[in-house]
């Protein structure tokens, strides 16, 4: 093998390795970052509620439904932006991968949903419902099937 060919082979190998690492990182963030792709190292999931700290009652559902499984932190947000309400599981489960979020198996999904619903209940007084929304015939299509899968899990986001 000539030196030039060797360089090309070396570059190709490095590029291939980089692609593999990127793909592995996306599918399994723990391989690249211990805390997971979309989760801070601390494990806290946080929402900012536009209310004073004195108006925040985390002893009510939906957060109260987690009981001792979670710990909760409440503190004023900077610059009068309200109150930061954070929650994390005591067992410190990881945030899950992009694939697990899409497939609905994100172990944090229920907690994300609870935080978002708690914010809505405090700010608006009720949780916004969209279904049943009027629609016509749902002709099955590959794109529609994927989208339906995504819309099943999409409501359990909104908290990162």
């Amino acid at each position: 093998m000539t030196a030039a060919l060797g360089n090309v082979a070396s570059l190709a190998a490095r590029a291939g390795g980089s692609v593999v690492r990127q793909v592995r990182s996306a599918l399994d963030p723990s391989s690249a970052r211990p805390a997971g792709a979309a989760q801070p190292a601390s494990g806290w999931l946080v929402v900012t509620v536009f209310r004073e700290p004195s108006e925040i009652d985390t002893a009510k559902p939906p957060l109260a439904e987690f009981g001792e499984q979670i710990e909760i932190r409440v503190r004023p947000a900077a610059d009068g932006k309200g109150t930061e309400v954070a929650a994390r599981r005591r067992d410190r489960q990881s945030s899950g991968t992009a694939a697990s979020r899409l497939s609905g198996s994100d172990p944090q999904a229920d907690l994300r949903s609870a935080l978002r619903r708690a914010k809505q209940l405090i700010e608006v007084g009720e949780v916004l419902a969209v279904d049943p929304a009027p629609h016509g015939e749902r002709t099955p299509t590959p794109g529609g099937t994927l989208l339906e899968m995504w819309t099943r899990v999409a409501p359990k986001a909104g908290v990162r």
Binding site: E123, H135, E137, G144
Partner: protein, 391 residues
């Protein structure tokens, strides 16, 4: 009830769908009087925003009459004539309270989709895909309006239905662009796109005191509307070199504010149009940013470029060097209409904002597919097809 639905890429249908019901105490049900097509619907129709499901009801620009009221609604009663802002904002979160209504934390029940696309979710919008909430649209006899005390506005007696209709989306979107771009008295403002939104952005800039407003397009009938109904100057980009003309008009400086009201399916006579088409069709970019590029090059040093047209994701060959080295301010937004609609309705009542001319083709819901075809192809001078669900 009958509704105009998205059936697949470039396939629009008319179907029977269930009537909406009140699901939250802050809802009202509106009997739709008029419901307009919008240029941004064409992105859904063409599959450029791939978050539509077969059967989704289209339409986000509408007015009508309150038919049913939820127990928590305080501002509206059955029989009220209302125009409804196309974006859904709760009025209680920090973003709504800052007047940034399209960024509402609570108006999109499917936050996971836009969160994955853009890092954070924004508010919801009627008839605008599951990415923006999966809300049923207004091309139907009835529509459910959540957060109705925030999003539905009583129409003053002196304002006709066909004028008030465009206080739902086109006018407040235009106002959002001009106001958020901080148009000031004496400014020269250039607007790319002479559709409903571009025309309203131009009118807003004039009302905010711009000394000279120029609208750029290629369709004679739309440019004629700009001159006749808006009172702004026009440039036909197929006839002239736009940046050169703008330089000449501004003593070599370029416009102080450049508002792009075209969006992801921009057209251009030059070779970059072919390049952008190929990349978009091969899904190597989601949007064709042709007009944005031109606005950035044309804008004066230290000026502001505002992207008011709808973009979905990623673009190629974005002139970031010009943005940085010319010290441009680059902003964008969906519409924050809740903050502008009261003023717009007042201006409409005083004849300072006129919009009836936009509704070039009014038709029943049964003609939905034909209306969208005419609108897409700009056939017969179609600026907006408008549906009248009551027939």
């Amino acid at each position: 009830m009958k509704a105009v639905t998205w059936r697949g890429v470039n396939e629009i249908g008319v179907e029977d769908v269930p009537e909406p019901t009140i699901l939250n105490s802050h809802d009202v049900i509106v009997e739709v009087g008029l419901s307009a097509t919008c240029g941004s619907d064409l992105h859904l129709m063409g599959g450029y925003i791939p978050a539509m499901r077969a059967g989704d009801v289209l339409g986000h620009e509408f007015m009508g009459t309150v038919a049913e009221v939820g127990s928590g609604v305080t501002k509206h009663r059955v029989g009220d004539r209302v125009v409804v802002v196309s974006f859904i904002g709760c009025g209680q979160c920090w973003y709504c309270r800052q007047g940034l209504w399209s960024l509402c934390d609570n108006g999109n029940p499917n936050p996971g989709i836009t969160e994955a696309l853009w890092g954070q979710s924004i508010g919801g919008c009627y008839g605008y895909s599951h990415a923006l909430g999966g809300w049923a649209g207004s091309h139907a006899r009835y529509i459910r309006v959540p957060y109705a005390d925030q999003g539905a506005f009583a129409i003053p007696d002196g304002v006709s239905d066909d004028r008030a209709l465009f206080a739902s989306d086109a006018a407040p979107t235009g106002w959002t662009g001009a106001h958020q771009a901080e148009v000031r008295p004496g400014d020269v403002v250039a607007v790319w796109g002479a559709g409903g939104v571009g025309q309203m952005a131009a009118r807003a800039a004039m009302i905010m005191g711009a000394e000279r407003v120029v609208v750029i397009d290629r369709y004679d009938n739309r440019l004629e509307q700009v001159r006749t109904h808006i009172g702004a100057e026009t440039l036909d980009y197929e006839e002239v070199n736009v940046p050169a003309e703008l330089r000449e008009m501004t003593g070599g400086r370029g416009p102080d504010v450049c508002i792009e009201a075209v969006g992801m399916e921009a057209h251009h006579p030059g070779p970059q149009y072919l390049y952008d088409q190929v990349k978009q069709q091969m899904r190597l970019q989601t949007d064709r940013p042709t007009a944005v590029r031109e606005a950035i090059y044309a804008c004066r040093k230290g000026g502001t470029v505002f992207t008011l047209g709808v973009f979905a994701g990623l673009v190629d060959k974005f002139p970031l060097g010009a943005v940085m080295n010319k010290a441009l301010t680059l902003r964008g937004a969906q519409q924050h209409g809740h903050r502008y609609i009261p003023e717009i309705l007042d201006l409409m009542g005083r004849d300072e904002v006129r919009t009836e001319h936009l509704a070039t083709h009014v038709m029943p819901l049964d003609d939905g597919p034909e209306g969208y075809r005419m609108f897409k192809e700009k056939e017969d001078g179609c600026v907006r097809a408008v549906f009248r669900p009551g027939g």
